[in-house]
Amino acid sequence: MEFQKDARELRKVYCESLIEAAKKDDRICIVEADLMGANGTKGFAAAFPERTFDVGIAESNMICVAAGLAASGKLPFANSFTPFATRRCFDQVAISVCYTGLNVRICGTDPGISAQLNGGTHMSLEDMAIMRTLPGLTIYEPVDETQLVAAFPQILAHEGPMYIRLFRSNCENVFGNVENYEFKLGKADVLKDGADVAIFCSGLMVTRSLQAAEALAAKGISAAVINVHTLKPLDEECVLKYAEKCGAVVTAENHSVVGALGSAVAEVLAEKCPAVLRRIGVKDIFGEVGKLGYLEKRFGMTSDDIAAAAEDAIAAKK
């Protein structure tokens, strides 16, 4: 199974969507911490210089300045690399953004192993885990250009804080092939139905999960592939439906297996519908420098790893 690359980098889609929205909505502004070039938001700064607040290399201040803007009725988008937009300023996100329930959008770019040559220091494998602990925070990770464009009106309309986890470059396109695709925040997308195993996946791991399902089909195994683009609130109904149907579950995420999608699904299964679970992601170790092809093999995140985990889960079914 081959995927076409998106025409635009995802950060370009993000920036252009912001610019279009800002033409009609003067609440929209951006708050930056010296990473506009990397985040792809320079276009917004050029179009709306007065609504661009680059605080310099000071992420804690960035988050609280955004909170102050939101408390004044603005709709600020605060942008940085995922580790600096989350773990570096977690208390600020927790108190000034989530405890207050303010309308702040935090966008982290270069998630997980996509930090590649910036290496282990910049590789956020825990951002989704820590952010998931914050009450009232919505967490969304787009898969490709088509989905982000479909999601944008809901990103704007949402009441309350949101964390967006943004792959920077051109994604492999998945949702361009989905007929009449309708995005709904908080509602998982079933990309392929199946009966033997359910693969819940997010971000970078969606194409790899679809490839794994194809390989499994060649062996006569029917795998469902479900994109959990909204980690919080989790679409529990969908998780339960497929856990009951398949009895074997695999999660695949560009993140540590501790705390995020794998853990969220495990919590639902343990409490409501015990099923065999295998988790694909980084196995509780720190990241390291390298290109994507190396890193996904290094951390056991290839389509082959997903297929093997699926077979293992099926074999463990009672």
Binding site: N61, G68, L69, A70, A71, P76, Q92, I95
Partner: protein, 273 residues
């Protein structure tokens, strides 16, 4: 210049803030007494002279904003809000009781008149910069009044925010440093001195004003001087005494958080009366 009558009224209101705060602490048995008492005179000048606010419409879009970044002094602010008519004085006695609208540290979701949640130190000050930027962006003429502590100034985020406000020339931001010279573990000078405070703020491109924090005339004049400065944010450094006005707390490091029983209430009210 305040008239003699205004000056006497503001001094009286400061006493009322102290007395009501003391009653609040007594009701729950303890509290952040020291840092509440040290800002009572400032709160009197703000709420009974300076602020352009409407207690009947706490979210009025054009109001002046107040951020108590040293959020642990919340009870003094609640007393000021109640005395100014935001909510009944009796409500103050629910401080920290189950389900209260008045938690130890300020919470904008709970309390009418609280413009920003604060308590995790430096965050409120940093959010004040966002409020000031929004005011400038919207070409509004309201002011942001932001209150930090001297101990709080040890937080790095204070200086991240200070640098941005100075560079952005946020003249609609008037900040106060409650320099009561004490923090939980000792005197600020012993723990980790922030001196020279005035030089630091000046170096961050702020208009710096030193002022007796327990003199309502001096505070009022300092605010007038801050408003006269049109190209910088202002930092008014208030020379204050922790626990001011209460004989069992004044000048004591232990007044940061202390027990308040019937004896303390009686002694405090007697001293204030």
């Amino acid at each position: 210049m305040l008239s003699n009558a205004e000056s006497a009224m503001l001094a009286e209101k400061a006493k009322e803030i102290r007395k009501l705060s003391l009653r609040m602490f007594k009701e729950i048995g303890k509290g952040h007494v020291g840092g509440a008492m040290s800002i009572a005179d400032l709160l009197s000048v703000l709420y009974f002279k300076e602020l352009n606010i409407n207690p009947a419409d706490p979210k009025w879009a054009d109001r002046d904003r107040v951020v108590l970044s040293k959020g642990h002094a919340g009870p003094a602010l609640y007393a000021a809000l109640a005395l100014r008519g935001y909510f009944p004085e009796e409500m103050c006695l629910t401080l920290n009781q189950p389900g209260t609208m008045l938690p130890s540290h300020c919470d904008m979701k709970r309390t009418p008149g609280i413009d920003m949640t604060a308590g995790s130190l430096a965050q409120g000050f940093s959010a004040s910069i966002g409020l000031a930027l929004a005011g400038k962006l919207d070409a509004k003429d309201y002011y942001i009044y932001s209150i930090i502590g001297d101990g709080e100034s040890q937080e790095g985020q204070i200086w991240e925010a200070a640098m941005l406000a100075g560079n952005r020339k946020l003249s609609n931001l008037i900040a106060f440093c409650d320099n009561n010279k004490m923090q939980i573990d000792g005197t600020t000078n012993d723990v980790n001195s922030i001196e020279p405070i005035a030089d630091k703020w000046a170096a961050f491109k702020w208009n710096v004003i030193n002022c007796d924090g327990h003199d309502v005339n001096a505070i009022s004049e300092a605010i007038a001087a801050a408003k006269a400065c049109k190209d910088k944010p202002s930092m008014i450094i208030l020379d204050t005494v922790k626990g001011k006005g209460l004989p069992f707390a004044e000048g004591l490091v232990s007044s940061h958080s202390m027990n308040v029983g019937a004896d303390e209430l009686e002694a405090g009210l007697a001293a204030l009366n």
